[in-house]
């Protein structure tokens, strides 16, 4: 990782401290600054309210020319989070072809929070959950809340 990338990540960490989205906490390790641990409360107005989610944000060597990688370490029932051990989220600015180098992690954090409040069923990674979200909201909400109780308490 180049000196430029490090400088940029440090600067971004500083910015995040000033503008952390509410309900989020960043664990930053200066020895390993390319991996951030994010602790996040489920947004009050969402089905995930009351849950506590652990996320990992990984910066690739080519950062900021390639996007950071987001993965949920806590299981979550969501159309935009892969239902596997990776728990990856890859849409919008997180896609390599959409990411622009001036984009900042803080925007990524805001994106995650927005998506928990309002999932994007048109650009889903789990099509069956997306269909359920669109066509059977009650059932979706039930399962999502059930998962919060089971995995995110």
């Amino acid at each position: 990782m180049s000196a430029g990338s490090k400088k940029r990540i440090l600067k971004e960490y500083g910015e995040c401290m000033n503008d952390t989205p509410s309900g989020m906490k960043i664990n930053f390790d200066e020895q390993n600054m390319t991996e951030w641990e994010v602790l996040m409360d489920g947004p009050e107005q969402s089905v995930y309210a009351g849950g506590h989610f652990k996320l990992k944000i990984t910066f690739p060597i080519e950062y900021p020319f390639k996007p950071p990688v987001v993965s949920f370490k806590t299981k979550i029932y969501h159309p935009n989070v892969s239902n596997d051990e990776k728990g990856s989220m890859c849409l919008g600015m997180l896609r390599p072809e959409a990411w622009k180098p001036p984009n900042k992690v803080v925007s990524v954090l805001h994106l995650i929070q927005t998506l928990l409040i309002e999932p994007n069923s048109d650009d889903s990674i789990e099509p069956s959950i997306a269909t359920e979200y669109k066509d059977n909201r009650k059932e979706f909400e039930k399962t999502a809340k059930d998962w919060v109780k089971r995995y995110a308490k």
Binding site: G4, K7, R8, K11, E62, P64, F65, K66, P96, E97, K100, P101, P102, N103
Partner: protein, 535 residues
């Protein structure tokens, strides 16, 4: 135009060579007095850029040719096509850019972006540009007209939003949109896009949310030379990929593209084999190696079937067989199907294991699968056995020709060395020993065709056309076996066999043309009935 000259001169030399051969020996067939006219391979091409739906192309130039009337010598199984080098594709892109640029009143950089954005549909671009200029420019990423040359600037108080560098005198760059970054970051961004992501035609400004496409002037200005080559290559790729009538030659490391007007929906009626300048014959419809006379969809079905049945079929296509008379193991070591057992001298056909002497006579029927009688077919078990037998009959012959073609090639590689020795000892010129290469090529090509006739025959339902097809297949097969046998003779006999061998080579080629013409014509007029649906 330069490229045209190149094309014509190379074609001319091929012409000369063929004429040389033609005048050397009169190639004719004593039996029916028919002569085979050797043509340069490429004379079927029309050197014209086909772009049927856009009239403006007529005036493009660069690909126009004087050889238009040569088309009359075209066979039914041949299609019009043209081979282009990367330079020619580049040239053609440039000429289209120039022409459309004139109409739109836009500089080449912007025109290139507009054309790529419109997937090279000039007519649609011009029309929509005339109707709603601003909208078209906007959606192509050209917010306002670009006219100033790009330049690097040092701006007081500038901080790069990518690397966070802000030292005084930092060199920076921005396009018309004004999204300014330090030169290093800008370069790095472009490099990542071109090298890692293989993007070329649609690289956007690195600015957050900006959709402006990086124009080629700016790219030229910022990108290192080795990356420029890659960039041009990618641009050329998108050009060919965007056009339905262009296709890359699938041969490994080949950089040529082929243009052909055959559409996907015509593939049940035409098998569009094209011939790349690298020597590779391939199907324009599916990019597989030449598979005439079988249509693409049959080829797909056949290959799938062979894959599924490979275990059953493998044992039968194995390299060794037993002599039908003394049962000693015989290994095939040449392409010829005329086998002589080393132990008992029994002569037999490798394909059907029948006595060879019967193959030389008029009732050579190694190629047709004899349908079993109805009584046997009534038995369900026998029925399934028969269907397997039927498949194996055709598969065996298909695989055999495939394998023989490989063996024929090996023999030529070995012979090539000895031929150069022969040149020295007999004083024959390089041109005079070319008959061996011609024979080798004819064998390969005919076996390739024969191979696919068996896949074709497998799906063919019997009607009054099939008999002619089977006769043609049989004739070609016999011609090939004759030539193949001669081809395997020891080197010291080859000089004296030259005339006969050229004769047989010409005859093979002729039989192949007859077969392919017949199958192509009947395919075009839907005279074949298949026991599967052609998709």
């Amino acid at each position: 135009m330069d490229s045209d000259d190149e094309f014509n001169s190379s074609q001319g030399s091929e012409d000369e060579f063929m004429n040389d051969q033609d005048s050397d020996v009169s190639i004719g067939d004593a039996d029916d007095g028919e002569f085979l006219v050797l043509r340069p391979k490429k004379s079927v091409n029309k050197f014209r850029w086909l772009d049927s739906d856009i009239d403006i192309d007529e005036g493009d130039g660069g690909f126009e040719s004087q050889d238009k009337d040569i088309k009359s010598s075209k066979h039914s199984y041949e299609v019009d096509f043209t081979v282009y080098s990367p330079e020619q594709i580049q040239e053609h892109q440039n000429s289209q850019i120039g022409e459309v640029g004139n109409i739109l009143g836009q500089p080449p950089e912007a025109t290139a972006i507009l054309l790529r954005h419109a997937r090279w549909n000039k007519e649609r671009l011009i029309e929509s540009y005339m109707d709603r200029t601003e909208e078209v420019l906007e959606s192509a990423g050209l917010g306002e007209s670009a006219s100033d040359p790009p330049k690097i600037e040092k701006i007081k108080g500038f901080a790069c939003d990518i690397c966070c560098e802000d030292e005084p005198g930092l060199e920076s760059f921005a396009m018309k949109c004004g999204h300014r970054f330090c030169v290093d970051c800008y370069k790095h961004y472009l490099q990542t896009k071109i090298k890692d992501e293989g993007e070329a035609a649609r690289i956007r400004c690195p600015g957050d949310g900006c959709n402006r496409i990086v124009d080629s002037k700016s790219l030229d200005f910022l990108v290192s030379d080795n990356l420029k080559d890659r960039y041009q290559e990618l641009l050329t790729r998108t050009y060919v990929d965007d056009k339905d009538n262009l296709r890359w030659c699938p041969a490994p490391n080949c950089e040529f593209a082929v243009e052909c007007g055959v559409k996907d929906k015509e593939l049940a009626k035409i098998v569009p084999t094209v011939h790349c300048d690298c020597g590779h014959f391939f199907c324009f419809g599916c990019s597989l190696t030449d598979h005439q006379p079988a249509p693409c969809s049959l080829v797909k079905k056949w290959l799938k079937k062979c894959e599924d049945d490979s275990e059953t079929a493998n044992w039968i296509s194995a390299n060794t067989k037993e002599c039908p008379k003394c049962h000693s193991t015989i290994e095939k070591n040449g392409g010829c199907n005329h086998m002589t057992c080393r132990k008992c001298r029994h002569e037999f056909c490798w394909m059907c294991m029948g006595i060879w002497s019967e193959h030389g006579t008029s009732w050579y029927n190694c190629n047709r699968f004899e349908e079993k009688s109805g009584s046997e077919a009534r038995d369900a078990q026998a029925k399934s056995r028969q269907s397997l037998e039927r498949y194996l009959h055709y598969y065996n012959r298909y695989a055999n020709h495939e394998q023989s073609a490989k063996l024929d090639k090996d023999i030529y590689l070995k012979t090539e060395k000895k031929m150069s020795q022969l040149q020295i000892s007999t004083g024959m010129s390089w041109i005079e020993v070319q008959f061996l290469e011609s024979a080798s090529q004819a064998l390969q090509q005919c076996r390739q065709t024969l191979k696919w006739t068996y896949a074709f025959a497998y799906y063919l339902a019997r009607n009054n056309q099939t008999e002619i097809f089977e006769d043609n297949q049989k004739d070609l097969e016999m011609a090939v076996e004759n030539l193949s046998e001669m081809f395997e003779k020891p080197i010291d006999q080859l000089e004296s066999l030259k005339v006969e061998m050229m004769d047989k080579t010409a005859y093979c080629n002729k039989r192949r043309i007859i077969l392919l013409n017949d199958t192509a014509e009947n395919l075009k007029s839907s005279n074949w009935e298949f026991n599967v649906v052609l998709s």
